[in-house]
């Protein structure tokens, strides 16, 4: 089901402490190694893009995320593809990333901790975090753009680039515009069923 974002976004923050047990908070990479941190030096913003290898709508956004990464990574924005579904194992996602020529960093969120922290439930859905003072603060959560209004209701091309506008605003220190509509895509598969 689609989640309709209500009036206010809940802004969450969590510690950036990356020592000890906290490392497992960020899931594993495609080689099965824990991802100890989502940032590198000089990272100003972290963008998580939640995806599913078998979701056609999330796959259609691969070129758009590559475009945004090309535009913003020189400005201190770090993009991560996050695969939270149980079926998206390291080998499945590795093959998927090769097929789609995905060059951005990828994390497998097998425990769906990032899902809970970002409070997303659809793929594709994006979350933007400010990196400040050792913690991540969520600035934006929601759709990438307005191409899909619902499944089956699709614009020929997007007219509003919500994620791009949020990143621009965050980098400029301006108020973050809220997404003008809900994210549309495939439900993230709940664990334990």
């Amino acid at each position: 089901m689609w989640r309709h974002i209500s009036v206010l976004l809940l802004l969450t923050s969590f510690s950036l402490e990356t020592k000890g047990a906290a490392q497992s908070n960020f899931g594993t990479d495609l080689q099965g190694n824990p991802v100890p941190t989502l940032i590198v030096p000089n990272t100003r913003l972290v963008v998580l893009v939640f995806a599913a290898s078998d979701c056609p709508i999330s796959n259609r956004y691969v070129p758009e995320i590559a475009r945004l990464n090309g535009e913003f990574s020189p400005r201190g924005v770090r993009f991560w593809w996050v695969f939270p579904n149980p079926g998206d194992t390291a080998s499945v996602v590795a093959r998927h990333n090769r097929e789609f020529s995905i060059g951005e960093d990828t994390v497998l969120d097998a425990g769906q901790k990032l899902v809970r922290l970002a409070q997303v439930d659809v793929t594709p859905e994006a979350a933007v975090f400010a990196v400040a003072g050792g913690s991540l603060s969520e600035l934006y959560r929601g759709r990438i753009d307005d191409r899909y209004l619902s499944i089956g209701s699709e614009r020929p091309q997007p007219s509003v680039h919500d994620l791009e506008a949020a990143i621009e605003a965050a980098l400029a220190g301006k108020p973050i515009p809220k997404p003008l509509g809900p994210p549309v895509g495939c439900s993230i598969v709940a664990l334990g069923k």
């Binding site: 691969v62 758009e64 699709e154």
Partner: protein, 766 residues
Amino acid sequence: MKLLRAIAVAPALGALLFVLTHAPETVVHAIAVPAAGVAAFRAAQADSAATQPASKSSDAPPTWSRDIAPILYGHCTACHHPDGAGPFSLLTYDDARRWGPQVLTVTQSRFMPPWLPEPGYGDFADVRRLSDHDRDLIQLWVGARMPEGDPPAAPAPPHYDNGWVMGKPDLILKFARAWTLPAGGTDVYRNFILPYPLAQTHYIRAMEIRPGAPQIVHHANITIDRSAAMRRQNAATWQNGIPGMDEYVDAGDTFDPDSHFLFWKPDTPALVEPEGMPWRLDPGNDLILNMHLKPSGKPETIDAEVGLYFTSAPPTKQPMLVALERDDQLDIPAGDANFVIEDSLTLPVDVEVLGVYPHAHYLGHDLKGWAILPSGEKKWLVWIRDWDIDRQSIYRYRGPILLPKGTVLHMRYSYDNSAANVHNPHSPPVRVRAGNRSEDEMGHLWLQLLPVNAPAGGPDPRLLLEEAWMRNRVRKTPDDSISLYNLAAALAGEGKYVEAVADFEHILRLSPNDERTLTALGVALDGEGEWRRAEQSFRAAIAADASACYARFDLASLELRHQEWKNAEADFRAQQVACPEDAETHADLGTTLADEGRNDESAQEFRRALALDGNNVAALIGLGTIETEEGENSEAVMQLAAAVRLAPSSSDAHTALARAYAQAGNVTDALAELRTASHLKPEDPELHSALAQVLASTGNVQEAIAEQRAALKLLEDDPDGWNNLGVLEERTGQKASARADFEHALQLKPDHTQAKANLARLGSIN
């Protein structure tokens, strides 16, 4: 003989004259999902509904095994199976659970299964719309957290073979080269050309398309380009495909209107035509696949294959595609949320409507088509409340809809060019007019019509449909030269030459040097009997365009028919210099030379014609006739027997073969051929006379007399005929009659030597 250069309107996605067609399947089921299998799923479902009335109640929620699997197998998995056209599989319980929430959403919104027509407004075959009962079951099942139920109770999943579902095709056409669809961006509409490589005509009973990347290809419209016009216009680039949503192709030079919806969509890989209604491919034809491609996020290789299944049986039914449209009024202001166009067309003949293809681009909203019968009864053809180009389709009726002559067909389309239309390709909205790019608009209601109850001996009812259709277009756009041309061509085809000439002249007032129209005008003038003016028109066409090969050919043929052999010879030879070598010109030049008694040169031309086209009937008859005259009987019989095989309804071929047989002393076969020739052409007195002679030589004098009388009934003023009749009657002892016959001959021709001698002989016998 070259016929009128009628441009048939090649319908299709588009428009007239030059169009891209589409033509969909006929038998939809029985392809991907075995029909029996579907029936079994439905039966299982019905049983479960009957025996489990509590399935909706809260204490017995629907289960996948009992309730949901039959729905998915019956409506979804034809596309949603591994490597199928759907983006994911729904074959197993795990699949269903994975996608259950999406299945609920899209079935509630009726986005899936894709089916746009409103129920109750057209009785269609292969309806994909999900019943309310099935939608409710899905809702209850997802609400109950998608229980599996008892797995052994589930029906066996259907089996899908991603190979050719109808077995190995008789011919497989492939792309000249694969094309790569970019990873992202807007949807792509692209035309891929597949030349038909065979040297023989074939009738196609079924076609199968394997798109190569099934999840990417949304649909494909297939047009037959009879003259390979698009390939020639894009000679340097066609191998890579040609962008565009609606393309126009020249429909060629004879009246050969498009007849079939050749429309492919993912769940119907095989388009099987009804019995008696195959379509046709001739040497030199191209198939154009207009494909709607949706970028997937990664570059995709598009490399489709088309499989063709032949039948040796030619069509016994000739349907025709006809469109209502109002493109001339499509000028939609920016922001207008309810722009309406309407069109209507009165049927000139009784028809059966077999299928419908509503077509608009992204702004189309509410699409209606209906018919008002002469009785006043209204019959709905289709109603789509919320058009979506992504889910467009052909719709075939469950049974043909009979519409009598005088029925008025109607269409009423509305367009939404406001920002609220999510499909609007422009943000903000801009003024939009008709055009073939996806961001332009169109408003067409294509119908597949099968003329019925046509009176014997009348004109081809498709010509009457064409005439009515083109008159309607000319009424809307009086100076549209394509409609005028097609109208004139239809009129000429019906033998209404005077009106045809007037319409061709109308075009020439708009574009005086149009070679094609000048040529067609010449043909119509010739039909009207104005052969000198026809000659002038052909010459004007040649002056307008030195490579006017049809005009050159038609001019020389006209001269040949009017026994201007020197001019005909000169103009055939000029045509040979100016135009690509063709068998027909050699054959007709051969006929010209034969008429002048120049048998050696003539035979040379016929042989050249046959080297180019071994099936050229005129050359076979011409050469066979010369060989007969020169006593080469066995060669003559061989050529002429071949002509008869190729053109069994040509009385000339049978007659020439009869002569060859007779000269070879084979009276039995000569008689058989003459009888066939006379049966084909009963109004030809010479054939009756010839029959009388051959019959007399076999001793069958009574029958010979009957034939000779038949000849004289058709040609009373034939002194030879009366003389011959007298001879035959004298042989049966009817002396008085014989005397009268000889006297009749002498009355017509007082110096008829044989009649005189016969009369004298009769006197001496007395």
